[in-house]
Structures are given as C-alpha cells and as structure tokens.
Amino acid sequence: MLIATENLSVSYNGRTVLRDATIEAKPGEILALVGPSGCGKSSFLAAINRLTEIIPGASVRGRIRFDGRELETVFPSSVDLRRHVGMIFQQPNPFAMSIRRNLELPLREHGIRDSGELRRIAESALRDVGLWDEVSDRLEQSALELSGGQQQRLCIARALALKPQVLLMDEPCSSLDPLSAERVEQLIDSMRGQYTVLIVTHNLAQARRLSDQVAVFWTQDGVGRIVEQGETEAVFNAPSNPIVASYLSGRKG
C-alpha cells in the first residue's frame, strides 16, 4: 500500500465532520471518493497533506501510513510532505504571475536553482499535461489570461513538476466546461500507473470510468463516514449497502 488511513477523523472547532475513515491505495492506482456534498471528502484530502494545519480550528485524529510507515516519521515536515503529495483544487488557482513563474516558483522553493534545469522540468511538465503546444510561445504571459481548463492543467503541471508520488484532486473538473473537463479527465486517466491519485468527484460516471477503487462517503447522524468501498466495478455492479445502491443508481443524494 502506498497510502493508507486508519480511523481518520477531522473536526472543525470541536464539530466532527468526518469519522473513522479507513482507506488503502496501491501505487499507481486511482481511488475515487464519491458521495453527496458536505460529508467530509474534501476534509479527508486536506488531512492527508496536512492542509488542515492552515485551516483555523481544524483538528485531525487517526493514523496515516505512507509506504507502510507512519506519515509523521516519513515526512516530519509538512513542506516535505506536500512536495511528495500534490493537490489539485476545484477552482484552478494559478498565482497571478507568468506561466513560467507559476511552474518555477515551487521548484526554486524546493532547491532547484539551475535555470537550464528549471526550464527543462517546466517544459516536460507542460508536455505531460498537453499544454506545451498551446502556451510554449507565451510563457511570459500572466497565467490568469489562460482559459479555465488551461489554468487547471497548468495547476496539474505545477504539481507534477515536483515529481509527487501521490496526487490529491478535489473535484478537479467540476468548475470546467464539458470539453475542458474531458481533457482533464483524459489527463488523469493517463497518469494511471505513474501516480497514486485520490480524486473527489460528484460525477459518478466519471468515477466509474476513471477509478480502480471507489470509496462512498455518506453523512450519518450529522457526521461523514465511509459506508462502502472496494473495486470500482464490484461496488457499482453490486453495492452491499442499500443507501449506496440507491445513490449509485441515481435515486438518492
């Protein structure tokens, strides 16, 4: 298992939003997290790369293992952790700087100073997300001038440039138009085998197309929990939980 959680709970100012979430993801696998809004999926992702540290009032309990060892011991520093566990947000969030600077700033921050190497990594990251041909002649332009879909792919490139082992994606397609969403989905599909991807999505069809494993989150007594998980096809074809069955068939949630 590359990444595994055990009884992970998240609360904000004492109010628990997610309780006892236990999942496992193998290297190179895509794990989809599905379920209605507000059942703790985003909090789950934020707990994994310790983004909860910068959310006021957030606290996390439970264990996270990375490659079989405690995450705390593998990556005592959050900065280091987030280099190895990248994250993509629902709204594309490039910095208000040039495209090149968006890619190079995090790399510099992680100690890569050589301009030739910076250039090379930036180019290969842009190629990986299929953005190179679209932007290679305007790398000095502001990233905010790109379309929403391009911005999101830039954000993915920015994360990939750091060579992470895990990518957390919080509804990466939901703010994009259908065509851009499809491109981003293809991109995620192409990352199978290279990166372990944990993707939150509301689009059940997308979850079914993309993922190897799926975990269904549900709110019970005001607290988010994982109510079913397993191989994607198995869960979609024969869910054991009746709520999940009606949710996956579109009758609930």
Binding site: S77, R83, G111
Partner: protein, 298 residues
C-alpha cells in the same frame, strides 16, 4: 526516493527551517514591540495621571496657569465644542450618506465626485483646518476665537469619517427590506424613515461615537479657532480651551505643568477608551464589521 534525493532534500529542509525560524522571530518581535510601545504609553499615562486625579480635579476651576486646581471649565468647553460640531455635522453627514446610497448598484457621476472630494477632505492636515477655520469662521464670519468657530471647524474635519460610517450603516441594511417595502407600495421617504433608518440606527450611532473620538483627539485645528481661554465660557461666542489644547499648553508653555498635563491626558484617554468600547458595542449590535479608512470605489 533515492539516496541523493533524500540528502538534497535534507539540506534544503535545514535551510528552509532556518529561514522559517528567522521570519517567525522577526514577525513576532515586530508585532510584540508595537504592542509593547502602546502598553508603555498607556501605562505611563495611567500611572502618572491617576496619581493626580480626584473628583475635585474634574469639576474645580483652574489655578496658577493650570499647575493647580482642576479642569472643570475645560471639560465644559470641550463638551460645548463637541455639541456644536455634532449639531452641524450629523444632519450634513446623514443627508449626504442618504444621497450617496440613493441608487443601488450604478454609481452616479454626482456621487463619484462627492466621494472624491470627501477623500481629499479626509486627507487635509489638521493645521490646514486650523488656518481655514481661523480665516473663515473666526475672521470672515466674525465669530472670533470662540467655541462656535472651533466646533464648526471640527464639524468640517469629522465630516468625511461620519459620512463614510453612515454610508456603510445604510448600505448594511439588506436590500430585501427595501424591495419588500417598495413592493407594498411604500414611498421612498417612508421606506427610509420607517424601514432603513431604524435598522441602521446602531451603526449610525457607532459612526457618531467614532467621530466624537476624532474630534476629542484634535488639537491643531482648535489652537486658532476656539483659542486658549481657560475660564468657563458664558456663551458659544466665548473662547474655550479643549482638553487636548490644555495638555499641549501645560506640557509646552507652563514650566512645572507636566503632572497636570498627565492628569488631563489620562482623562482624555479614558474618554477615548470608553468611546472605543461604545463603538465596538454598537457595531456588535448590528454585526457590521467596521474597517474605516478613506476612499471608495468609483
């Protein structure tokens, strides 16, 4: 993760850690030294001031150029100056604020010009208000060095802040209230007086209290408008010395006046603290978060 990668990342980690520590220490030091200075000033004023203050000090007349006696007449003059200031500035400000919030959405050219002119007014140095008040109210209008001149000068000075806070107060009233009232066929005037103003009242009051604070703190604009005379004023046309002018005079022009200057400063700061609390309380009643500065969006 290969070995050389781990080694590099450890070196970077150390460098990052050192930078984080430096920045954290610098930011905490800066923030704490600012607060430390503030507390130093306040305790200095409180400790030296409270030693001099008793009830008699607050009501009795001043003696020996202020080295002895109290500040009774000065409190009276200050109160009268504030009264004049408010009587003039409140109607002007509320009226202007209503005119500025008249249209929801699209900003008119008129409102934009008014706002810009108020931005400039907010930046006018207080000594320039003093020059203007002296030339216009004291000399041209023939009011002389008087409480009236001082109060009117201060009214001009607090206008921008009072208009801004009133405008915020009016804007904070949910537009739905107005739509609902308008849908019931109420006239704009009725909506304003029956629906908007009652809801906005605490926030409007907070703006008034805040302006009183500004006016109380002012010195330079009063030196040549309301003057230095420390006797109890008999009419608004008499000169009257404000608390702030009294502090200045004792500290600079009266050898040995330091102790009483501190006592007066202590009274002034206590008043301002009360005003600060009152503003916070009134704003909490309305839920408006107040961040006043100058400027608007046109």
């Amino acid at each position: 993760m290969n070995d050389s990668g781990t080694a590099t990342s450890r070196v970077i980690g150390v460098r990052h850690h050192r930078r984080e520590v430096c920045v954290t220490v610098a930011v905490w030091t800066a923030a704490m030294s600012v607060i430390g200075l503030l507390i130093w000033i306040l305790t200095d004023i409180a400790v030296r001031g409270l030693a001099e203050i008793d009830f008699g000090f607050l009501i009795s007349d001043m003696q020996n150029a202020g080295r002895e006696g109290g500040i009774g007449p000065i409190i009276l003059s200050t109160g009268l100056i504030l009264l004049v200031c408010l009587v003039v500035s409140i109607p002007l400000s509320f009226g202007t604020a209503i005119a500025l919030t008249e249209r929801i959405g699209q900003e008119t050219g008129f409102a934009c010009n008014v706002r810009r002119s108020l931005d400039v007014l907010a930046g006018v140095p207080s000594i320039v208000f003093g020059l203007f008040g002296n030339a216009f109210f004291a000399i041209t209008l023939g009011l002389g060095y008087s409480i009236l001149s001082g109060g009117l000068t201060l009214a001009c000075m607090v206008l921008p802040i009072l208009i801004r806070t009133s405008e915020q107060a009016l804007r904070a009233v949910p537009a739905e209230y107005q739509y609902a009232a308008a849908a019931l066929g109420m006239k704009r005037t009725t909506i304003l007086f029956r629906v908007v103003l009652p809801v906005a009242m605490p926030a409007l009051a907070a703006g008034v209290v805040l302006s009183i604070g500004r006016a109380l703190a002012e010195t330079a604009a009063l030196l040549f408008t309301s003057g230095y005379v420390a006797r109890s004023p008999e009419s608004l046309l008499d000169s009257g010395r404000s608390l702030s002018v009294h502090i200045y005079d004792l500290a600079m022009n009266v050898p040995g006046g330091g102790a009483r200057a501190y006592a007066t400063a202590c009274v002034l700061v206590a008043l301002l603290l009360m005003i600060n609390l009152a503003t916070a309380f009134l704003l909490r009643m309305t839920g408006v978060r107040h961040r006043s500065t100058t400027g608007g969006t046109c």
